[in-house]
Each structure stands twice: as structure tokens, then as C-alpha cells.
């Protein structure tokens, strides 16, 4: 929407109203993390700023467009709106974006089938002219998270939007994540030049290897190559699909002695948040005993050359395939990430290779479910896959069920299973949010459009025969067996049968090298139960306020043992009066000033007229008396 007045500050104050469902609160905070990773928009709990967004559980999912300067600007995330891309969509409205197909040039790219639209809903397909809406010099975006799907407001089964390029028919309406063009527009609109949480990435396509340096304190160097005889045949970024490109870094352990090391250091990085997640792909063509160590070289006043600290030892690296790894860092000073390859005992025909490194100040997923030779399961009867067992940070054992044998859609479900800590845990399992992410393996984390769904264990949830869904699996679960034959109990699964369509699953980089990664995080979100109490109208600080009602969201306070109402105010408006019952605004001041000026002018005019009249009358009288004197009748002339 055109107009500076609709912009928000780069850091948007927000309130998560307690009416929100617990799962929705967690999802909204995850959506904020996507904004922080890919844009310069940040969010902060409301601390009394004039304008803020209040996210509440209203009816449906909706928002206003742009900053409306109304103080508390509502944004509704109601039932079934607790999907991360829905939250991203509604916040893009709040930031000033309309739907993609309402652009002024929309008809160059899609045809609206008016006769297939529900009667009375045609207005939803209006367009804005380029005086109202600015496309920010970005091409039409079929992949926008703000685009209607082809079935929007259909009155039957035929699509209401037909793309002029047929290949985009099933692309429009994606609700996975920001598209590249979404980010380009948003970052242009808000003049973003960096993001809060993205730090670095490297796919080694450029010869400067992203400024990484070989360390001097080792016995070998990492080589920038595009192929290794012992493997890998090609890089991970492009899977060898681009002739003349596709590089990665390789430590040739076969050419050094056992125990020899090769250190590769990143450029110097400057953290802002104090926690980081390092992701990269690793290929082992050497020996099972070869090892990759991750160090941090942290610089401080007392350590000019930096202190090298071992963060993680990666051992037993599977041979012969690219593997995704995550390493959690908690660095607060400027630092380098150091990759240390170590030649292990035993014969080596190759070595260690790394590609597609990403570093961001985000939380790493807790677990990775790596599914190999994936395509064989799509739509097949044996496409019912259960993940290995994992343990959440609180100790709950769980498993993911991926159902690929449906004809059009993929289902994904979270199951609690019987585990070693069950006797010490709380049952039914309270408020653990499970986030399941199908990873888009784009080398650049900012360009990934991963598909994500979250569910939360509501301890009060029951199924029809009164069983608590999240009760102890050994009590409510069914008997199941691990692949090694051990028996366990699997609880009731909660998830969705329409996680992603088969078509979308086979798009982008969800499947790369026939590998799929499901990232899993199970977090305790009970602290969100009452996150932030909004300074509610009439909130009492002392009993004195108990029966004082301040109007228009005023806040009752006690000052010198006397109750007062503190009235809300905005940039050009304010409430006043004892109970904030009166509203004022700069516009009123202007009106008052103008009217008083007019009044003074009128008064002066009247005074002038009266004085002129009197003067005239007096003069007239004088002249008439004088002529009387001069005419003594017939005065004789000389």
C-alpha cells in the first residue's frame, strides 16, 4: 500500500493475547523467527509504545493492511489459523501488503474466471491501480505466500484463477513460507540491508570460499574441488547438475598420516543474540574412524589471537553419502567457526568433504530424521514410515509417523511412545509443542521454503471414550515393535493428513539426492500459558482502583493515594478527562485555532463597521449644521 503513514517501525511491538491457543502462541513466535532470519523486521513485547499489534484468538484469520495508528491494532489468529505461513501472511498484511493477485498488472499473468466465483464474492478479486499499490519493481509472483490459490471463492469445482502460464496453476496459493520475491518486496519497502539472525553461508562456488582461511597450525589443507576419486562424485549445492560449477571443500585423509589434521576457519563473525546454529553437509569417503571436529576461535580483549575451543566431535560419519549436520553454538564475542578434519586409524581412500554451510542466530532443531531412497515410498503401500525413537529435552520419548501412501497428500503425525523416563515424567504430557519441518534443502537458508506444522500436547485433550490423548503410552498406546524386535507402546498420534501435496513434495529441494530431512523440535511451551498481561483497562494497582473504570483503554493508577486514569495517546490523538472520556487530536487544535481567528476577525470587522458608521454619522451631522449657519437666509453679498 502506498503511503509512509502505513509503515511500522522496524521493530514491531506486539502482545500475544491470552485468548490465543497455546499452539498458536508457539507458532507465532516461530513465524517471528522467520522474519528475523530473512528480513530486517523484528518483534518485541509491547512496552507501552503508542502503536502495537495485539494478536488474539478472534473468529478466523485476518488483519488490517498497514499501520493504522490506532494504538492497539488487532490481528486475529483463530482456530485452524495456527500454521506458520498463515501467521506470516497476516503479518505481511499488517506490514502493508495486499494479496498478490490484486496488483494493477495482474491481468497480464492470470485470468480471473468471474463466472466461477461465489456470488457476492467478486469484490475479493479487485485490483488496485498503481496510485494505490506499488509493486516495488518486482515481477508478478506466482509463488507468493500472499497469492490466492486457484480454488479461492469458487462456486463449484472449477478454478477461479487460471494462470496464463499453465505450469503455475498449482503453484499459486502456497502457504509454506516467504518466496524470494516476497522477501525482495518486504526488504525493499522497509529498506532492509541485513537481517537480525542470518550470519553466513557458503556453497564454495566462488574461489574466495566466502573468506574462509586455512589455519597454519595444522598438517594439511582443505582443497576446493568439484569431485573426488573416492567420492563424492559431485557437490551437494547442485548435485553436479551444473557443468563447470559445483565445488566443495575436501580434506584428503588418504594423503596424510593417522592423527594428521586440517583446519579450515570461517571469516570473523559478530554475534548479536548469543546463540547460533551451524548447519552443513558432510561426506565421508575416507575411513569410519576419520573425524570432523567443530571448534570456535573466540576473540576477546584478553585473547587477541582468539581462543580455540572444541564444541563438537563428529564421529562415525557414514561412508558414501552427503549427510546433514547441525551444531549448536553459544558465542557472544566475535569468533570464527573452525572445521577440523582428523585422519583416523585404518585405511583411507578419500577423506572428508563439506558443502552448503549456513550459520544463523537461530535455534537448531533437536533431532533430524534422515530418510534415504525416498521416492520409492511416494504413493506406495509401504509408504507408511515411522521415525527412529527420539527423546525430547524434557525426556519424553516420541516418534513421527509419515504417511506417503495416500494418492495426493502426505500425512505427518506426532506420537508419544513408551520411554525410559516415563516414571519420572508428568502425565498426561503437558504443553510440549512438537514442530515437524520438511526441509527445503536450498543451499541458502534464507531462500528455503520449508514446510512446517506444529502440534501441542494439551493435557486435557480426550478422545470420545474419555481417554486422555497424551496420557502415558503404556496406558493408552498400542503395541509396536522397533526394527530390532523390541516391543514398545505407541501413543495416539496427532498431526495432519494434508501436510503437503505430492506435487509440492517433489518440487524445490525437498527431495535432494533422493534424501529427505524432517527436522524435529519438541519444546516445553507451558511458560506461554499467560505470556504477557496487557495493561488492561481498569487494571488495579491497589484496591483503590477496584471500582474505577477508565474509559477508552485508560489505565487506573494510584498517585499520592488518589486514583487517576492514565489515558492512551497516539501520534496525533489523545484521550483526556478524568476518566479519559474525552478525545483530542491535533486536528481539533487546528479547528480551534481557525475558528478563534475567524471569531476575532468577525469581531474586529464589526467594530470597524460600527466606528465607520458613527464617524460618518457624526461627520454628516457636522456638515449639515455648518451649512445651516452659512445660509442666513439671503446673506448679502458684498
Amino acid at each position: 500500500i502506498i503511503g509512509e503513514e502505513y509503515r511500522w517501525p522496524h521493530t514491531i511491538p506486539y502482545v500475544l493475547d491470552d485468548s490465543l491457543e497455546m499452539n498458536a502462541k508457539g507458532v507465532i513466535l516461530d513465524a517471528f523467527e522467520r522474519y528475523r532470519l530473512k528480513t530486517c523486521i523484528d518483534f518485541k513485547p509491547w512496552a507501552g509504545e503508542a502503536n502495537y499489534i495485539s494478536v488474539f484468538k478472534g473468529s478466523g484469520c485476518w488483519s488490517s493492511v498497514g499501520n493504522r495508528h490506532v494504538g492497539k491494532q488487532d490481528l486475529s489468529i483463530g482456530t485452524n489459523c495456527d500454521r506458520i505461513a498463515t501467521v506470516q501472511h497476516e503479518f505481511l498484511h499488517a506490514l502493508g501488503f495486499w494479496h498478490e493477485q490484486s496488483r494493477s498488472d495482474r491481468d497480464d499473468y492470470v485470468n480471473i474466471m468471474w463466472e466461477r466465483i461465489q456470488s457476492g464474492r467478486e469484490h475479493n478479486f479487485n485490483t488496485y491501480n498503481d496510485q494505490q499499490s506499488d509493486s516495488l519493481n518486482v515481477p508478478y509472483d506466482y509463488t507468493s505466500v500472499m497469492h490466492y490459490s486457484k480454488t479461492a471463492f469458487q462456486n463449484g469445482t472449477e478454478p477461479t484463477i487460471v494462470t496464463r502460464i499453465p505450469d503455475f496453476m498449482d503453484v499459486i496459493g502456497q502457504r509454506m513460507d516467504f518466496s524470494d520475491y516476497d522477501l525482495l518486496k518486504l526488504n525493499r519497502l522497509y529498506n532492509c540491508s541485513s537481517s537480525l539472525s542470518f550470519m553466513d553461508l557458503c556453497n564454495f562456488e566462488l574461489e574466495n570460499v566466502c573468506g574462509m582461511v586455512q589455519s597454519s597450525g595444522d598438517s594439511a589443507d582443505w582443497q576446493r574441488v568439484s569431485q573426488v576419486p573416492g567420492g563424492p562424485e559431485n557437490d551437494h549445492s547442485n548435485m553436479g547438475q551444473c557443468k563447470g560449477s559445483g565445488f566443495f571443500m575436501h580434506f584428503d585423509s588418504s594423503s596424510v598420516n593417522v592423527g594428521a589434521t586440517a583446519l579450515l576457519e570461517s571469516r570473523i563473525l559478530y554475534p548479536k543474540r548469543g546463540f547460533q546454529c551451524l548447519q552443513f553437509y558432510l561426506y565421508n569417503s575416507g575411513n569410519d574412524n576419520d573425524q570432523l571436529n567443530i571448534y570456535i576461535r573466540e576473540y576477546s580483549a584478553g585473547s587477541v589471537n582468539g581462543t580455540l575451543t572444541l564444541v563438537e566431535e563428529i564421529k562415525e560419519i557414514p561412508i558414501g553419502s552427503w549427510q546433514l549436520y547441525h551444531v549448536t553454538l553459544t558465542v557472544t564475542n566475535k569468533f570464527r567457526v573452525v572445521f577440523g578434519g582428523i585422519r583416523g586409524s585404518g585405511a583411507s581412500l578419500g577423506g572428508l568433504s563439506i558443502d552448503d554451510i549456513n550459520l544463523s542466530e537461530t535455534r537448531c532443531p533437536h533431532h533430524i530424521w534422515h530418510i534415504k531412497n525416498f521416492t520409492q515410498f511416494i504413493g506406495s503401500p509401504n509408504g507408511k514410515l515411522y521415525s527412529p525413537p527420539f527423546y525430547s529435552s524434557k525426556g519424553y520419548a516420541f516418534q513421527i509417523y509419515l504417511n506417503l501412501n495416500h494418492s495426493t497428500d502426505v500425512g505427518i503425525y506426532f506420537h508419544l511412545i513408551s520411554g525410559a523416563n516415563d516414571d519420572q515424567l508428568q502425565w498426561p504430557c503437558p504443553w510440549q509443542q512438537a514442530t515437524m519441518t520438511l526441509l527445503d534443502q536450498n543451499p541458502d537458508i534464507r531462500q528455503r521454503m520449508s514446510n512446517q506444522r506444529s502440534i501441542t500436547t494439551d493435557p486435557f485433550m480426550t478422545i470420545d471414550n474419555g481417554i486422555y490423548v497424551w496420557d502415558r503410552p503404556s496406558k493408552v498406546g498400542g503395541v509396536a515393535f522397533f526394527t530390532n524386535g523390541t516391543q514398545f507402546r505407541r501413543g495416539i498420534g496427532l498431526g495432519t493428513s494434508v501436510f503437503i501435496t505430492h506435487e509440492r513434495l517433489q518440487s524445490r529441494d525437498f527431495i535432494k539426492g533422493n534424501d529427505v530431512y524432517i527436522l524435529l523440535t519438541v519444546e516445553d511451551i507451558s511458560h506461554l500459558n499467560s505470556t504477557q498481561t496487557e495493561l488492561t483497562p481498569g487494571s488495579t494497582t491497589k484496591d483503590l482502583c477496584a471500582n474505577i473504570i477508565c474509559e477508552n483503554d485508560g489505565i487506573c493508577t494510584v498517585h499520592n493515594d488518589k486514583t487517576e486514569c492514565r489515558c492512551p495517546s497516539g501520534e496525533d490523538w489523545w484521550y483526556m478527562g478524568e476518566r479519559c472520556e474525552k478525545r483530542g487530536s491535533t486536528r481539533d487544535t487546528v479547528v480551534i485555532a481557525a475558528s478563534s481567528t475567524a471569531a476575532v476577525f468577525a469581531l474586529m470587522l464589526m467594530v470597524t463597521l460600527v466606528s465607520v458608521y458613527c464617524t460618518k454619522k457624526k461627520y454628516h451631522k457636522k456638515t449639515s449644521s455648518k451649512t445651516a449657519d452659512e445660509n442666513p437666509g439671503n446673506q448679502h453679498a458684498f
Binding site: S64, N80, H93, I463, S497, T501
Partner: protein, 45 residues
């Protein structure tokens, strides 16, 4: 013990509802399906 078909619960009920479907089902007639207009905009639209 729950019967097998109760073993999973589908939060979407088998239907991939978009934002606008959710709002339509609730009987909302918001501008462009999910945009709330303020007074002046409402009149304008």
C-alpha cells in the same frame, strides 16, 4: 485401548483449508477474504 483408526487424530480433518476457506466457513465476509477494513475504508470499498 483406543481402536487403531483412533490411533491418529487429524487436526485438519482431511481437508487442506486455506485462510479464506476458514473465514468463509465462519461466515466472515472480510475484504479480500482476510482483510479487516477500518470505518473509512469500509465506506470506501
Amino acid at each position: 485401548l483406543p481402536t487403531p483408526e483412533n490411533f491418529v487424530r487429524d487436526v485438519d480433518g482431511g481437508i487442506n483449508q486455506d485462510i479464506f476457506d476458514i473465514n468463509e466457513d465462519l461466515g466472515l465476509d472480510l475484504f479480500e477474504g482476510d482483510i479487516r477494513l477500518d470505518g473509512a475504508e469500509q465506506r470506501n470499498s
